[in-house]
């Protein structure tokens, strides 16, 4: 026993861990397929899009970050910013003020309160009064207090029904639009094939805790650069809930959002199926508040993952009929199956495989090698994100070393969420009220 312990400790000792240089070249020069398929390929797939995006940015920055054009004689389109919220008194005032003061005059804000227990409506009215003048300007903000709790999708639908804008921006009640963002957000709609544009969602409370700092890095790499690259390739998988701008006529024609969870994913899927182009604007910055504690982050990620299974695998399973919705949608479907589902599970399976096939100590050796490979890619991707989007902050770069552990930590709720949803454990989420849940046919 003591011999095994000694051997085990020597395998995970810092000196052994730092000796990755021995293992890595060995693995990289080998034809060992599990290593290539389960570990190298996902990283490369995750990585090469960002590099491609960056190369385009170096050669022709205007392709990635189109500059604002001089305004022509035509008037600015009217935009309705729809905010749905429940018990958001802490943040709704700032969200309304930021929307009204975002530097775009031809805009209205509609806040629909989902029967809050707190004073969200009072705070919203106060915020509206603090910014708008009396007279016609006061009607730039409309506030509707729903008499019954109906869930986010239905609450958004009330706002959409009241919106009169040519474009409808959907933001969360804890999100704020950055000054000047709206002009950039609208820019891509000059292409009539574009149906919706995702905002560049950034972390507002990044200095609140270590977790929020790590989330800032994650948002920069995954949401900013990742979405930018996929949008350029026409395979953007989501218009995010905290910041999405839609053509009003499309949303109205679709009858708004469907009830239940994952409203943003669902709407994106509907738009994709109708072959609308989806864009992403780096300069349309929307700041959002992210979970501060591990518990909240865990719950958020579980909810995201369960929604993904609910919406993409269950409700919109017809997307997997290859060719039905075009090649771009087929790639999105494959990306979902391979990157989000197969690879994580294959990685875990691989750990067991290596453990059984090559002994338990092969796993730490493998992980340490993987850690350093991942770190190298991560550094490059962070530099790319910093160059293109100015995020993450340079003083957070040292978190690079911790970031793989953060991702590992997130794997647990993500895979647990997928597992539970696939075998239908606790499918009902408290975000959806009972009377709505009982009527939802999708799952």
């Amino acid at each position: 026993m003591s011999g095994f312990l000694h051997y085990f400790l020597s395998a995970i000792s810092p000196s052994e861990l730092l000796g990755f240089s021995r293992d890595l070249p060995e693995l990289m020069t080998s034809a060992f397929m599990p290593w290539w398929l389960m570990y190298v390929l996902p990283i490369v797939l995750w990585f090469f899009l960002a590099v491609g995006c960056w190369l385009v940015y170096l050669v022709k920055p205007a392709v990635i970050r189109p500059p604002l054009l001089a305004r022509g004689p035509q008037p600015e389109p009217f935009v309705s910013v729809v905010i749905a919220g429940r018990n958001e008194s802490a943040s709704i005032g700032e969200a309304i003020r930021a929307a009204l003061l975002c530097g775009y005059a031809n805009l209205e804000v509609i806040f629909v309160d989902d029967c809050s227990d707190d004073d969200s409506v009072v705070v919203a009215r106060r915020a509206a009064r603090s910014v708008t003048r009396y007279g016609s300007d006061a009607h730039r903000v409309r506030i509707f207090a729903s008499p019954r709790r109906n869930g986010k999708a239905s609450t958004l639908n009330i706002g959409i029904r009241m919106a009169r804008g040519e474009f409808i921006a959907i933001i969360d009640a804890d999100s704020t639009i950055q000054y000047g963002a709206m002009q950039h957000w609208l820019l891509q709609f000059s292409d009539p094939r574009v149906g919706a544009v995702a905002a560049n969602v950034r972390v507002l409370n990044s200095t609140a805790s270590l977790l929020t700092r790590l989330q800032e890095i994650e948002y920069a790499m995954q949401f900013t650069v990742g979405r930018l690259a996929t949008a350029r390739l026409g395979i953007l998988p989501i218009i995010p809930g905290p910041g999405g701008l839609f053509r009003g006529e499309i949303v109205r024609r679709l009858g708004g959002f469907d009830t239940g969870l994952g409203d943003d994913t669902d709407m994106t899927m509907k738009l994709r199926k109708q072959r609308w182009k989806l864009g992403m604007s780096v300069d349309a910055v929307v700041w959002t508040i992210v979970p501060v504690t591990p518990r909240h982050l865990w719950r958020q990620r579980m909810r995201w993952e369960r929604n993904m299974v609910k919406i993409r695998l269950s409700k919109h399973r017809d997307q997997f009929v290859l060719g039905r919705y075009g090649s771009a949608n087929a790639i999105v479907a494959l990306q979902l199956l391979i990157i989000r589902l197969a690879f994580p599970w294959a990685a875990v399976t691989g750990l067991f495989f290596f453990s059984f096939a090559y002994g338990p100590l092969s796993v730490p050796r493998l992980l340490k090698a993987y850690y350093w490979v991942y770190l190298a890619f991560l550094l490059i991707k962070m530099l790319i994100a910093r160059d293109i989007a100015g995020t993450p902050q340079p003083n957070h770069f040292w978190l690079l070393f911790v970031f793989p552990f953060y991702r590992l930590f997130l794997r647990v709720p993500v895979m647990y969420g997928q597992f539970c949803e696939l075998i239908r454990i606790g499918a009902k989420h408290p975000y959806v009220p009972d009377h709505i849940w009982q009527e939802i046919p999708w799952w």
């Binding site: 009396y134 016609s136 409309r142 239905s154 639908n157 029904r161 708004g256 469907d258 709505i436 009982q438």
Partner: protein
Amino acid sequence: MTTIKTQAAGLAAAADERRLDLLGRIAEAGGKVTPNANPQAQHGYEHLAPCDGDEGDLLLLARRDYLEQRFFDRVSLCPKCGSHHLNVREICPGCRGAHLANEGLLHHFRCGYVGRQSEFATAGDGDGSRVCPKCNRRLHHVGTEYDRLGKVFVCLECGVITENPPVEAACLACGARNLAEDLVSTDVFSYVLTSLGFAAVRRGSLLDTDDELLFVSGAPVYRSTVILEFLNQEVKRIHHFKNGFSVLLAKCAREATDNRDGALLPPWLPRLRQCLREVDLIGQLADAVFVVILPQTDKRAAEVLRQRVLAEIGPQLQLTLSAIEITEPRHLAQVLAHRSGLSEPR
């Protein structure tokens, strides 16, 4: 020059005569005149008999304390032409048209569709169910399948839905369209004869040169306008010299006052005066509320004085006497609250 002066004096005397006559008529009518609605009047109201068309005189007499103004109504006027002939209605925040309908908003739980009641067509088989325009399913039961989100205003011209539409007033006289909050509003008052007005009627002359302009008839008590002016002066002194003053606030039951020339004065007032210094001023804030200004007096000294006054006057069930030190202008608001009867003295 002399002729002009003589003519001016004659005109002034004639105006005084007319105003005195107006006071007399008001006294005969019970001491109070109330405005009557009249669409042809400038602001929609006018004072009929006994003071036909004497609006200017009523205002002047109120300003000179012969009459007391009491709020009667508020009239909204066109900011452009001043007319009160306004067509007030809700308008669409989008197209500013007035073609609005008040309609229920329905929410279908199953598909989340939210729309006007008229969009949910009634099913043809006569069972009263509706059909969702989004998913084409039948809606039978309110509360379990669908719900009413309340009533909203729908613009029948451009389709905009709003819960609180803006209110606009179109002037029927000049055609100007203004939002309700941009209208000019003016207050209409009824007028009540004051003690000064009664005294003027009794004496047959306006009392502009008499002490009665300052004091409540025959008593060493300043009228409310005068004592308020003194209070304001004291507050200004606080600003400059940073030392406060105190007031004694006396409130008694109305029935405990003595009606003298229309003025309500309590019988203990002379004895109160005896307890005070020469520099202290007594004034009447309201019918049964009196204030004593105690210059350069702190709370402790005012409290001593209050005890002394109570001892002098003896037990008076109807009297409440309190001492308030005023060191900041905001303290004055406490005193003025008693004037309008907002709170009881401690």
